[in-house]
């Protein structure tokens, strides 16, 4: 039995991992819900984001500036991918979409490996996030606390875009019934480009923010992508609240199980998914119908 401070510390790790999964998964689930495309390049884009932060940090020496430029880079990358490749696959069978996005993922990861090599790179913790913070009986790394706060802010921003803007209205309606959105005079294809690009920025940004916490390698996104697929199944396909809640649950399960025995952490996650699929196949916030 681990000590209480150790458990509490793992609970905070779960919150950090969970908020990150929430951010990654909300991009994934919104792209899936709106465009109907399951994006298997998501893990690679996470790594590309981390490397973007690594490179820009060398040039700018400022973490915030590096992230800002990195987001611009991810936005352009998202636009290019949608215009040059993804848009030709909207009407195609899911197998084709999976193959093409999986292929994009392999190309991106291998490009990163070709340029930077396979060895782990280190992105230093930003100057404002150094050290540890005293939380009552627990001392916890400051940057991880800031990470939780930053991602919470980003998720609130994403919520406001989805629930308080016209574009968000179109996206939410499009997830439910794209045909009727067209009948009401709205050309959804134009929204698709923005949704895809925003999804790419979200996952890239997650990679950038996570870079100081882990070793940056070309394959760093693979595990994340698998977990974020579990999250969107848990939360319900196409559901933004589902991605957030599912992300937090998944993060806590992985982290808290690790406190007892780390080799079971992934098993517990998939066991929970299997259990949920039996009891509630549409996921926590999902509705039956469109996939």
């Amino acid at each position: 039995m681990p000590s209480w401070p150790a458990l509490a510390s793992q609970a905070f790790n779960g919150l950090a991992l969970g908020s990150l999964l929430a951010l990654v998964s909300s991009g994934l689930t919104i792209i899936l819900g709106t465009l109907g495309v399951l994006n298997f390049a998501h893990g690679a884009l996470f790594a590309v984001g981390a490397y973007a932060a690594f490179v820009m940090l060398q040039y700018t020496q400022s973490f915030l500036l590096a992230i800002a430029v990195g987001c611009g880079f991810m936005l352009v990358l998202g636009f290019l991918l949608e215009r040059l490749i993804i848009r030709f696959f909207y009407g195609r069978p899911h197998e084709d979409q999976i193959l093409v996005t999986y292929g994009i993922g392999i190309v991106l990861v291998e490009c990163v490996r070709a340029v930077f090599g396979g060895n782990a790179q280190r992105v230093p913790t930003p100057s404002w996030g150094q050290g540890a913070t005293q939380l009552g009986f627990l001392i916890y790394p400051t940057y991880r606390l800031q990470l939780i706060a930053i991602i919470a802010t980003l998720l609130v921003g994403l919520y406001l875009v989805l629930y308080r803007t016209s574009m968000g209205l179109v996206v939410r309606a499009g997830i439910e019934n794209p045909g009727m959105v067209g009948i009401l005079g709205i050309n959804l294809r134009r929204t698709f480009l923005l949704v895809f690009a925003i999804g790419v920025v979200a996952v890239g940004l997650a990679g950038m923010l996570y870079a100081p916490v882990v070793a940056v390698t070309p394959d760093m996104g693979a595990n994340f992508m698998a977990q974020s697929f579990v999250v969107i199944v848990l939360g319900g396909l196409g559901s933004f609240p589902g991605a957030v809640v599912g992300g937090l649950i998944a993060g806590e399960i992985v982290s808290l199980t690790s406190a007892f025995n780390s080799s079971y952490s992934e098993v517990m996650l998939y066991a929970l998914m299997a259990l949920l699929l039996v009891l509630r196949p549409q996921g926590l916030f999902g509705s039956e119908g469109r996939v």
């Binding site: 209205l169 939410r172 309606a173 997830i175 019934n177 009727m180 009948i183 005079g185 959804l188």
Partner: protein, 234 residues
Amino acid sequence: MSLLEVDRINTLYGDSHVLFDLSIRVEEGEVVALLGRNGAGKTTTLRSIMGVLAPRSGEIRLDGKPISGLAPSAIANMGVQLVPEERAIFGGLTVEENLRIAALTAPNAWSFERIYGVFPRLKERRKSLGRTLSGGEQQMLSIARALIRDARIILLDEPFEGLAPLIVRDLVNVAAGLAREGRTMIVVEQNVAAALSFATRVYGLNNGHVVFEGTSAELTANPDLARDFLGVGA
């Protein structure tokens, strides 16, 4: 020139041929009823006009300009608005959000107050999610989405289906009011009496062909006329 002309269209669902050289026309300010048995091609006609299904041949013209082959969104923005049989309310959006998204691309969108003047019930429920509405309220909202766009021609597909008689009466009153104001409509309905109460002209459809064309008065006066294509008298 008619407002809407459907000129010898052939529409297929996959391999099954549904509409055969079907032609109808609708004048400005007119309410036209499409009557016929299940499978006669009424819904397919409306879906072809809206662009949800593209006719294999033939042409559909609005103000003389061909619209067949355009995307539904483009046709909607020319003033055609389908109120689909399944109502297609966005269940995760509130009543007001359903209206807001409908109004988004309409240049002469009505105000919410004007819509609530037609459907006071929707005002009471404006903050409710679409999925919590009753069947009658969903139908009101579905019609309201077409009205808020100030559509030039509204295509009503089975608007009274599955609703309680009192609600049907209210909706017929609304439709009759719109007809009096000169709103152009095509209505597909199994409830022949309800449809004839506000339609001026009728097309009878059978197996994808037009088998009758006449005024509502003719049909009401000669119930035998409808027997061929409806199976029962009007």
